[in-house]
């Protein structure tokens, strides 16, 4: 009965979030254009203005779908409630950041604090299962890791949301990997939450892919980052998520180290990439420019924006494959 209910919830979760996002985005494009909520697509020579804050559609689809599934699957109510509270808090932080950019140190602090519902509602198990080591016991350290993990995940996803479709495509792969890993490790909440997120992100990708008709904004990228971290924690998929997020971690970690601390994207004076006259992007040779994933990819030669995103997808698919291997190592007890 339970596995049948889980299957129904997974299918409904995927389908409902997909349909809501798919239907909502055209409406948001019209409304945001009317109200002037637009951002400049800096990686195109003609610098077009594109509606921003499209991530609102992702947030709404997650809220509606999760509430609906809570009514069907009462056993998982506590987990759905935790997921919902964290997502809504982070979504609001993202929306505020879109309207009035937050201090670069305040944003990770606020997103870190958004993890507190997980700790207070006790929807975590402080015994992460690692490959080779097996089950560990981190009773005291684990809550601290939850706080740090949410801040890292939200901001890592936010930092890779720089090209048309880059966030939606790479994060869709992460959720597909989490879905497969949850099936391998029999994490029922992991399966359902991953399906909800995958549905919403695939629908959003349709409009966000090159050339983008809408941007997700911080409301979208922070929400998706929080969803990844929350799914990892309450679905007990921590180490698998870290491996699946390798391109995001590479991007965030190396750029932070190279610029020597937390800076808002708009505050970085020397850009990691530059637009050439033919529309292609090239790596900036300035030693002071941050080493982002895009700059690392472009070190091999100039590429068009859609080609860079293709490389991001290849890297995410590969790290996803390594993450599934990691899940198999855990499942086999190695």
């Amino acid at each position: 009965m339970s596995s049948f209910l889980n299957l129904i919830c997974t299918i409904i979760g995927f389908a409902l979030s997909f349909v809501i996002t798919f239907a909502l985005v055209p409406f948001l494009i019209r409304k945001f254009k009317e109200r002037g909520i637009v951002g400049v697509d800096v990686h195109k020579p003609e610098k077009p203005e594109i509606p921003e804050m499209g991530g609102v559609s992702i947030l709404i689809s997650i809220i509606v779908t999760t509430i609906f599934l809570t009514l069907i699957h009462r056993d998982l109510m506590k987990f759905f409630a935790t997921f919902l509270i964290v997502i809504v808090i982070v979504g609001i932080i993202g929306a505020i950041d879109d309207i009035k950019p937050l201090n670069p140190k305040l944003k990770p602090t606020l997103t870190a604090l958004a993890s507190l519902p997980i700790i207070f509602l006790g929807t975590y198990v402080p015994r992460p299962v690692l490959p080779i080591i097996g089950r560990t016991r981190l009773t005291i350290v684990y809550p601290l890791l939850i706080i740090a993990g949410l801040a890292v995940s939200t901001n890592a996803v936010n930092m890779l949301d720089v090209f048309n479709g880059s966030m939606a495509s790479t994060c869709s792969i992460i959720f597909l990997v989490l879905l497969i890993s949850s099936i391998i490790l029999e994490s029922e909440i992991g399966i359902i939450l991953s399906a909800i997120m995958l549905g919403s992100l695939l629908a959003f990708y349709y409009y966000n892919k090159y050339p983008a008709k809408i941007f997700s904004g911080d409301v979208g990228s922070l929400t998706v980052g929080a969803a990844i971290a929350t799914t990892a924690i309450i679905g007990r998929l921590e180490i698998i998520t870290i491996v699946a997020m390798m391109p995001h971690i590479m991007n965030g970690f190396h750029s932070l180290v190279s610029i020597g601390g937390l800076l808002e994207r708009r505050q970085i004076k020397i850009r990691p990439t530059k637009v050439l006259d033919d529309g292609r992007l090239a790596a900036n040779e300035d030693p002071k420019a941050p080493i982002t994933l895009a700059r690392l990819v472009l070190a091999g030669g100039p590429l068009r924006e859609n080609e860079i995103v293709k490389v991001f997808i290849i890297l995410s698919a590969y790290s996803g494959m390594l993450a599934i291997f990691t899940a198999l190592l855990i499942a086999w007890g190695l």
């Binding site: 080591i133 390798m246 590479m250 990819v297 490389v311 190592l329």
Partner: protein, 85 residues
């Protein structure tokens, strides 16, 4: 598209993943078995803190090496490309 360059980045990711697993083997072999024959809660707590501390230091070393690897590869590739051009 420079596929050799993409394969090199995938190689870096593979090295990072394998070193993570090797780090876990090291922790499992040498840090997890650390114990002291005492039933005192305080002693057990100190041993727990020691294990987490050493594991955290190993994780930081892993991150440092990851960063060093990426930086070295990045500058070598960028400079190599300009020399060729």
């Amino acid at each position: 598209m420079n596929y050799k360059h993409i394969f090199n980045i995938l190689g870096i990711m593979t090295i990072v993943w394998i070193t993570m697993l090797l780090g876990l083997i090291f922790i499992w072999k040498f840090i997890v078995p650390v114990s002291y024959p005492s039933e005192s809660y305080f002693v057990q707590f100190v041993i727990g803190v020691f294990k987490v501390g050493v594991s955290s230091v190993l994780a930081l070393i892993w991150l440092f090496l990851w960063n060093k690897l990426v930086k070295t590869y990045f500058w070598r590739t960028l400079k190599g490309r300009y020399v060729n051009e």
